[in-house]
């Protein structure tokens, strides 16, 4: 079993870490980069697969050299064997489409040169873009099946199939079980929870953790960087030029007025009318 986990760095949006300028724009330079929070679930899904079925896990990311640290963190969490960073100035300002093409090419190069890939894991949505597109687009490029919103995962290595429980339309009460052949792309849901009900799995988990601890401290020695030349990417498809997405403008979210007025509206028909009236007025005043 060989898996690749896709992960990426995002600005640390947590209280105290994130920094905005006066206009409310994010100051990237002043905000530290951390691993995309949802990717943790992708890592957990990959780790569960490695613990239960053995094999090799590689972490992969596209981004500036600074993302190496994020990959190092990923190594610690997923007990990854090695790391691949797709990094080149030419790749800057890629949208989800250009990113997916780059990742796809990276995965294919990996499959050709390192070893055939059975599973690609990705997290659900990044905390900065919030599009949720990169995973599916990468899968489209690979022409593999994809299973999204995965809550639980089991793999039958002999049959080369996976079974997954997935959320249907984000509703916690509607869970379906699906099967798919390998290779396959798996998008872990933020509610994914790994389970280790077998003692032997827990022992393996513990052994992997001990083995990884040292490796993760020197993660750079286990990281391969591939640039545009290595990947042999068509400049038309990557970076800013290859990105069809146009962000027209970013609206700052208005700050809540510091002194709020509260109007208490009684429930009932009249109350509702009053409420809608108030809301209309408010919207008009804001110019929506």
């Amino acid at each position: 079993m060989r898996s690749i986990v896709l992960t990426k760095g995002v600005p640390d949006f947590s209280e105290g870490a994130v920094s905005f300028d006066e206009d409310g724009h994010l100051e990237r330079g002043k905000t530290p980069t951390v691993m995309n929070p949802n990717d943790e679930k992708a890592l957990q899904a990959a780790l569960q697969t490695k613990v239960r079925h053995g094999g090799h896990v590689s972490g992969m990311s596209m981004g500036p050299p600074g993302y190496g640290e994020v990959l190092g963190e990923a190594m610690e969490e997923v007990y990854a064997d090695d790391l691949y960073l797709l990094s080149d100035r030419e790749l800057a300002a890629s949208d989800t489409w250009a990113t997916a093409i780059t990742l796809c090419t990276g995965i294919e190069k990996y499959a050709d040169e390192i070893g055939g890939v059975d599973l690609v894991f990705a997290g659900f949505k990044t905390a900065d873009g919030e599009t949720g597109q990169t995973g599916p687009q990468t899968c489209w490029g690979l022409e593999w099946p994809i299973v999204t919103h995965v809550l639980a995962l089991d793999i039958d290595p002999d049959e080369r199939r996976l079974r997954a429980k997935r959320l249907v339309e984000g509703d916690r009460d509607e869970i379906e079980t699906v099967e798919a052949p390998l290779p396959c792309v798996v998008i872990a849901d933020p509610e994914f929870s790994p389970t280790y009900r077998k003692a032997s799995h827990r022992l393996t988990h513990k052994r992997l953790r001990a083995e990884t601890r040292e490796r993760a401290e020197e993660y750079e020695e286990h990281m391969t960087t591939w640039n545009q030349q290595d990947l042999n990417l068509d400049p038309e498809y990557i970076g800013l030029d290859g990105s069809p997405t146009i962000v027209s403008s970013v609206d700052p979210i208005p700050k809540a007025p510091s002194e709020r007025e509260a109007t208490v509206i009684e429930p009932g028909g009249e109350g509702m009318e009053e409420l809608f009236g108030e809301m209309n007025e408010f919207a008009a005043a804001r110019g929506d």
């Binding site: 429980k165 389970t195 009900r197 003692a199 052994r207």
Partner: protein, 564 residues
């Protein structure tokens, strides 16, 4: 809704040996099993071994023991213990009067060495060693996993069931899960019925930098002090106190007979405070008092409950789980016996390998406990004789009467008596027979204190933290909505004793586990007890003194001791 997909295809996993609990007993058993090349899996409910454990803290290496902890873990003393005991005293207290005896003789009898320990650092160190050793034979240690019962087939024990993982079958199961062993109870080998069978220990770890420890106890680096306390310090509650020096802290605590706590309706934390605030302790505590941790645990009384045949089918009980905790008068020996028993159980398993019947290992183990003299220490035959005489309340009352009379006091109080007493205290045989009555714990020591003692004139200024602060300083990972103890009978008659005997509850204290209130029903008043397990320190007391359904919390949940 379960989102687990794992197919339970292959049935149960099997290991040659499963050890439940990674305290001294479990660690000894597992390391010895690994020596024998037996595939051994150890399951420990704490996030890390030691996070659930409390002891006063002296671990003994007895000359006569077939196994000591450093036999099994050669680096133990360098890596896992605090200070060796080089100064050993007992203080008989009567009010402000104190008579101290040097107990070094008693202490050194049959002692190769003896070190103070703190259980979190000690047990977590042992866990790492045991994991290394058992990994070699295909096993290992898993923490955060709680055994919740025995797996049976046609009525015979074949393995163990757990909260966090699937059941496991094994050729042999060693229950080293401590006092309140759920496995021993499930096997029908131990019950939690009689307060007379138990002690309750309560302890505070007090911060103190190493130089201050050396200064105040007049010791150097690499030396340590042990002090015991008895007398009227604790009113009429039968038990005593201890103070041991660690590297950079003190362990100060009390150990009382549980039945006496219940009878006297005593509050354990107040008894501890009575010790902490006694003028005698002022010279050691100084005027600033920084308590790092408050903890408590039940302790079995081996004289009454050590099982002569601690096994059933392929289940072997080791340490506190089998009642192997010896109170030799004021000296408490549990850890060392757990180590001995664990190693012997492992040897028995290795010897019995290949013998067809399930109880072969158990029988060998019981016979090794007997032949090595371990059982005689734990459950001396002469105690069974002497207790019949000395615990009979009529005799006790007569002796008390004489002692309390002027003649009696004078007899104990004369100079020759002083010499004799010093000798008596240092005689292991006599001390071991100190009857478990007020006479031994309270009357005699306080007469000694009053007759021979000198008066302490200075005051003790320290203020121990309130119960609320003590609870507030502990670390908990509460299993919200899943309490591990349930009250079966809410009436005060059935469960009221827990309101005071629980070390984190008190009358008139709303922040503890047990509370009592008077409720009016149909015009008549009824006193009821309610329970909130959040502040519970998992000592086990209410399993005995109240009518409860008592289990330990799931793996990793509940209280987490950092010192122990």
């Amino acid at each position: 809704m379960s989102t687990d997909l794992a197919s339970d295809d292959a049935g149960y996993e099997h290991y040659e040996a499963v050890v439940v609990g990674c305290g001294p007993g479990g660690a000894a058993a597992a390391s010895r099993l690994a020596d024998h090349g037996v595939e051994t899996l150890v399951l420990e409910r704490g996030v890390e071994a030691g996070s659930k454990n409390v002891s006063g803290g002296l671990i003994y290496a007895e000359d006569s023991a077939p196994y000591t902890i450093d036999d099994l873990f050669p680096d133990f003393r360098q890596e896992a213990s605090e200070r060796p005991v080089t100064d050993y005293r007992i203080h008989n207290v009567s009010g402000r009067q104190v008579k101290s005896y040097d107990l070094t003789g008693l202490h050194e009898h049959d002692t190769d060495w003896c070190d103070a320990v703190l259980r979190r650092p000690m047990d977590s160190w042992l866990e790492d060693r045991v994991h290394e050793m058992t990994s070699e034979t295909g096993g290992g240690v898993l923490s955060g996993v709680r055994a919740n019962g025995l797996l049976r087939e046609n009525g015979e024990i074949i393995g163990v069931t757990f909260d966090e993982i699937d059941p496991i079958t094994a050729d042999v199961v060693i229950a080293a899960d401590g006092v309140n062993s759920e496995l021993a109870r499930d096997a029908g080998l131990m019950d939690w019925e009689e307060p007379e069978d138990w002690f309750q220990g309560v302890k505070a770890v007090v911060d103190m930098d190493p130089e201050t420890v050396n200064d105040r106890f007049d010791i150097s680096e690499g030396e340590g002090a042990a002090h015991l306390f008895s007398g009227d310090l604790f009113s009429d509650v039968r038990g005593g106190g201890f103070l041991y020096t660690n590297e950079d802290s003190l362990s100060i605590g009390t150990v009382f007979h549980l039945d006496s706590l219940v009878e006297e309706e005593a509050e354990p934390h107040e008894l501890l405070d009575a010790l902490l605030t006694h003028p005698l302790l002022a010279k050691w505590l100084g005027d600033s008092y920084d308590e790092r941790e408050y903890s408590a645990k039940l302790v079995p009384d081996s004289k009454k409950v050590a099982l002569r045949e601690p096994y059933r089918d392929r289940l072997l009980l080791v340490g506190d789980a089998g009642g192997q905790m010896q109170a030799q008068g004021p000296i408490i020996k549990g850890m060392n016996h757990a180590v001995t028993a664990g190693a012997l159980a492992a040897d028995a398993v290795a010897l019995a390998q290949g013998e067809g019947d399930a109880e072969a290992a158990g029988r060998r183990y019981a016979s090794m406990l007997e032949k090595s003299g371990t059982m005689e220490k734990l459950r001396p035959k002469r105690y069974e004789y002497s207790s019949r005489v000395s615990e009979r309340s009529l005799t006790t009352r007569a002796v008390e009467g004489v002692l309390n009379s002027r003649v009696g006091s004078a007899a104990v109080g004369n100079r020759i008596a002083d010499r004799l007493l010093r000798r008596a205290y240092n005689s292991p045989g006599l001390v071991g027979m100190l009857p478990d009555t007020e006479t031994g714990y309270v009357t005699l020591p306080s007469i000694i204190g009053a007759e021979h003692g000198r008066t302490i004139h200075w005051d003790n200024e320290i203020e121990p933290p309130s119960l609320a602060d003590r609870i507030g300083d502990l670390t908990y990972d509460t299993d919200v909505g899943n309490p591990h103890i349930r009250l079966r009978d809410e009436s005060f008659e059935a469960s009221g004793a827990a309101v005071y005997a629980c070390p984190v509850s008190a009358e008139e204290f709303g922040g503890g586990c047990y509370r009592s209130e008077v409720v009016e029903t149909n015009g008549s008043e009824e006193r009821l007890v309610s329970l909130d397990t959040q502040p519970c320190v998992e000592c086990g007391t209410c399993a005995v003194v109240a009518d409860t359904e008592w289990e330990h919390p799931r793996g990793g949940k509940g209280v987490e001791f950092r010192e122990g």
